[in-house]
Symmetry: C2
């Protein structure tokens, strides 16, 4: 084992930012980059490096603004209905198309609609246009675009630090500018490190990690207006990382090393930077994102970014985005923020600033924020997130129902067009989310999986538009309705059937442990994977065990909970457990064997106040009438759609 030093600091983010900007300022790096000259045709989205003034006026000659005749306004004096005036075409009246230059000495245009053409005797005996007749005098410069009407030569077209838009390109060209000084794009060289890292598409071996962080960071650099340069992955070897870093410094304005920023035996990033230049921060007290290294060499910032994708994304945003913007001379607008109500309690370590990812949805008049997976390794939490809530280091967490400020990661309009579904999980919901996006691109379905009971409680609190539920009442044998009557007395609910589905025990292909049913959960060699309390599947599990007289403590793994059917299936596939209760489609998806236990009804409970809304109507249209969707559900396996979309109950 290599030598190791655990020397991570743990400084607050504000202090790290102070050091970062102070150090950049000392190095003269807190100013916009110099400009480079490019052709205007290629300047869309670039930032002006200096003010741009017009070289020529637009128009640069007096031009007719209409189709009509150019005249001298003095020649038109006295024209009236009773005393029309005639002007000889070609001499006193010259035909003009719109945009034609005014002949020398002519100073007004009479519109074609306002003249009467008088035909004379043509040479070949045919009537030819000879005069125009007018019944009103012209005013000086009427219907003429005079020189500089749009742009006067020397006039400022664009200020410095302006992001060039399509109309700006038009104005520049119209003002006679064909080349322009724009800010150079900051070059950001990204070095992925790690012996285990492999390029996407490589044949995978256990232990390999697909290199995608550098792609995420490159994409961000592009979006911010920089130029990303990705190096090939460098193994965990001090000399190789050092050489790559020196090479990166040659070309880049910023060098990003990912990862090796922690303090493990193969984490060389900090020592390489310290060896080449200077490390002035190593370790920041934020979650996720702790092992960040801030360094500098030869007036170039070198930053070590953590390996977990969420940490990498967040810290890159915190340190690199403002720097690129500063270098481009762009103002950095604060992220759009919205106030929302937190749907459930969140504990957070005291002394550490946390960046909590949340889903948002507007239910009734209120915006509801629902926390999603918090692990630094859960990239899907960023894919799914609508925004981020910062929990201060002074806080131990946030209570359910508290008001939080959310920094948006998506457009506000998209967020407001989101149907919030909280409740039981079914694979059909994922499919429905996709068909909704397919048919109505502006609308999203966001589902949070808290179980049927949790879903009904969310409806009760006004935090969801609908709930997927499959609660079996032990006494009556009836699904859902008794629970609505008991729990949601104050709300009118419409219950719409989605599907009937088969629940069963999942076991690995070939059923190696020979499991036949719930009775096998007593066995010492059988490890079960459970669903969370409050889920319909958990109720079914408990009911089944009770009927067999098996005590819960006899079931190994009973305390290990997953939140979705696919989570259970994945646990069985990967050997974490030997079996678990889930729906047939999840077994089909991961190619597991399935021991049927029960067929159950899965409904959508929708408060009447939302039932007739546009968004829900479109959702129900898909459920009821979209043949492609319905046959796709059947293809998932294990579903009966005979009542799909039918109203089961209203009350």
């Amino acid at each position: 084992m290599a030598k190791r030093k655990i020397y991570l600091e743990n400084i607050p983010l504000s202090e790290a930012l102070d050091k970062w900007w102070r150090r950049l300022k000392e190095a003269g790096l807190d100013k916009p980059l110099t400009g480079e000259k490019i052709v205007v045709d290629d300047s869309l989205g670039r930032v002006t490096a200096e003010a741009v003034s017009a070289k020529i006026s637009s128009p640069f000659y007096h031009a007719s603004a209409m189709d009509g005749y150019a005249v001298k306004f003095a020649d038109t004096f006295g024209a009236s209905e009773t005393k029309p005036k005639r002007l000889k075409i070609g001499e006193k009246a010259i035909y003009m198309d719109t945009g034609d230059p005014m002949p020398e000495g002519f100073d007004a245009v009479i519109m074609i609609e306002d003249v009467n053409i008088i035909k004379g005797q043509g040479a070949r005996g045919k009537g030819q246009d000879e005069f125009i007749e007018i019944i009103e005098p012209a005013t000086p410069w009427q219907h003429v675009r005079t020189i500089g009407e749009d742009i006067v030569a020397t006039e400022l077209i664009l200020p410095e630090n302006h992001i060039i838009r399509p109309v700006d390109i038009g104005a520049l060209l119209g003002g006679g500018i064909t080349e322009i000084m724009v800010r150079r794009r900051p070059k950001v060289v990204i070095i992925p490190t790690g012996t285990e890292i492999v390029e996407p598409g490589t044949e995978l071996k256990k232990g390999n990690i697909i290199e995608y962080n550098s792609r995420i960071l490159s994409g961000l650099v592009s979006e911010w207006g920089g130029e990303p340069l990705r190096m090939l992955p460098v193994p965990d070897d001090y000399e190789k990382i050092k050489n790559a870093t020196l090479q990166a410094i040659e070309t880049g304005d910023i060098v990003v090393i990912n990862a090796g920023a922690s303090a493990g035996s193969e984490d060389f990033t900090a020592s390489v930077i310290a060896d080449i230049g200077e490390v002035f921060v190593h370790g920041i007290n934020i979650k996720p994102g702790k092992p960040v290294i801030l360094g500098i060499f030869d007036k170039k910032p070198i930053i070590g970014i953590p390996g977990y994708p969420v940490s990498a994304y967040l810290t890159f945003n915190i340190f690199i985005k403002p720097l690129i913007y500063k270098w481009l001379g762009r103002g950095i607008a604060p992220p759009e923020r919205l106030k929302a109500k937190l749907s459930r309690q969140v504990a957070s370590p005291l002394g550490q600033e946390e960046f909590l990812r949340v889903k948002l949805g507007e239910v009734g008049e209120r915006l509801i924020a629902t926390p999603i997976s918090r692990g630094a390794g859960i990239l899907m939490s960023l894919v799914r997130a609508d925004g981020i809530v910062r929990i201060s280091a002074q806080s131990e967490g946030l209570a359910a129902g508290s008001e939080v400020e959310v920094e948006l990661l998506r457009q506000k309009a998209d967020i407001l067009n989101t149907i919030v579904c909280i409740g039981s999980h079914d694979n059909t919901l994922d499919l429905l989310a996709n068909y909704l996006k397919k048919r109505y691109p502006m609308i999203s379905l966001s589902s949070a999986h808290v179980g049927s009971m949790g879903g009904l409680m969310a409806l009760k609190r006004g935090e969801a538009h609908l709930t997927g539920t499959h609660l079996l009442d032990e006494e009556t044998g009836e699904y859902n309705i008794p629970f609505l009557r008991r729990l949601l007395t104050e709300k009118k609910i419409v219950l719409v059937n989605l599907i009937y589905r088969e629940q069963g025990l999942l076991v690995p292909r070939g059923n190696p442990k020979g499991i036949k049913g719930f009775e096998d959960l007593k066995r010492d060699d059988v490890i079960f994977i459970n669903r969370q309390a409050g889920s319909g599947t958990r109720l079914l599990t408990d009911k089944s065990l009770k009927e067999l007289g098996i005590e819960l403590r006899e079931v190994k793994g009973y305390d290990h909970e997953e939140y979705t059917h696919m989570g259970v299936a994945s646990a069985v596939l990967s050997g974490i457990a030997d079996t678990g209760l889930a729906i047939l489609s999840s077994a089909v998806a991961l190619d597991l064997d399935f021991i049927p236990v029960a067929k159950e009804r899965y409904d959508l409970a929708i408060p009447e106040e939302f039932y007739n809304s546009e968004m829900i109507r479109q959702l129900l249209d898909i459920i009821r009438d979209d043949e492609e969707f319905r046959s796709h559900v059947l293809a998932l396996g294990g579903y009966d759609i005979s009542d799909m979309g039918k109203v089961i109950y209203k009350g």
Copy 2:
């Protein structure tokens, strides 16, 4: 002259849109385009053409989530502080770096910080790590990233119609996806037409028009996610336009002909489209934008777009943007809208829908919308605009002070960070606007030129943060202060000097008409260009004429008004007038001769409520302390900056 038919229709916009979408629907063109397969690395900003599910789980093996030792949790039973347990390294405890795959049969990781390393007797007599000692049992799968923790194979990563972001690329690659079906980029072929049209950079001759519309339209297509293809300009020749159109249809999904959409003698666009395919709309009752042609051939829309740049921009946005979005499967978010108070009255033709460009600024708590130039040829009105107010066809205009809804063209944050300056024009203000943007990229200075008096009235109505003013009181000979005392009694105003400047009569280089002073304005061969009533320069003109006993009706051109010094200079340069009163810097800018008339004080009047705001403070910092700005002002010519930034008066 060629044959002409005036056959423009004049249908309402809503009817044109109905026809457009009905016709597209009939041709099956109202659906997303088919997909094309591209590599994920190149997919940033593209739109998914189908739902994407993970091929593999991420991680695809159980991996250590920490630096530490892999153990079997069963081996750790019973460990406690009083009874620590030892596990032999290499047998019962395997060292792991974060991300290393768990050895077969191992099911927990103990963090390096939580173990005590026990050294045994090494072969070479040196102490080597032999055991780990632990004081707490492990729980199953602790500190292990189990298979699928982030992404479970078959799980939906992205729905259809999703715009791919950097994090999405990471998730796709992590889920084993390296190629993806995205919507094909719609190809939009743009044909500039017109014999007079020349490419930018060409040596210009009178009558030439620089081709920039196709660049504006191309930029828009790129921003919307399409692929623009620009053809070289085609002369006004029926056959050549027809051939170009047929060639464009070969490659494009949409063909745009610009312009020739009107009904002039050289407007062939409509007949070409009608000849090749079908024209179903020609002429829409909007301002600007009337001569639009909507046509179709062989399931490809062909659209004739007006030649004036503002008309081209607006109609392209109205018809082409939603189509490209539809083809990409993107939802089109409604433009952000804000309510604002209109700062002055606007008359608008009854029966025609008008798109009025406005500047916006937040003054105090109110958003003020100020209309800007309305000509279809004034591209700078789009460059400067913050938003567009639609004036319905049923309206004859809008009253000053009425509430209007503004569709934003810029980010709301940018608009709110705008200093609104309404009043007299001085070239120094343009320079100040640029330095403000240079020093503080987030802040803008917007100036509207309505003259000193108009500016003070805007301050009075609470519609501006500051006013540039140079009003000479005839009785006292004092500048500005008597007017503040008279007009702004209810407001506390801080008056800050900007510059002293020279006013004089501008004449063409060499003074061909031998003008010596105001006395020459009586001459029959001298045409004057005036400034608008309420401007300080107009007051100075009137005072000078009065002193010389010249009557206003004796001055030819007295009624022809310009709104800025540069407007006057441009009129003199281009021969519209022989002379006009303006500041020295405008003569310098356009290389005109200058006959001095008076030196005057030009101040900024700032209500006290804004004087201490952050934005105004930053503006004053530049005026007072920015040496680069101050020397730049001097370089403009004719300015005395000895009192620049000094408070002249408070009250």
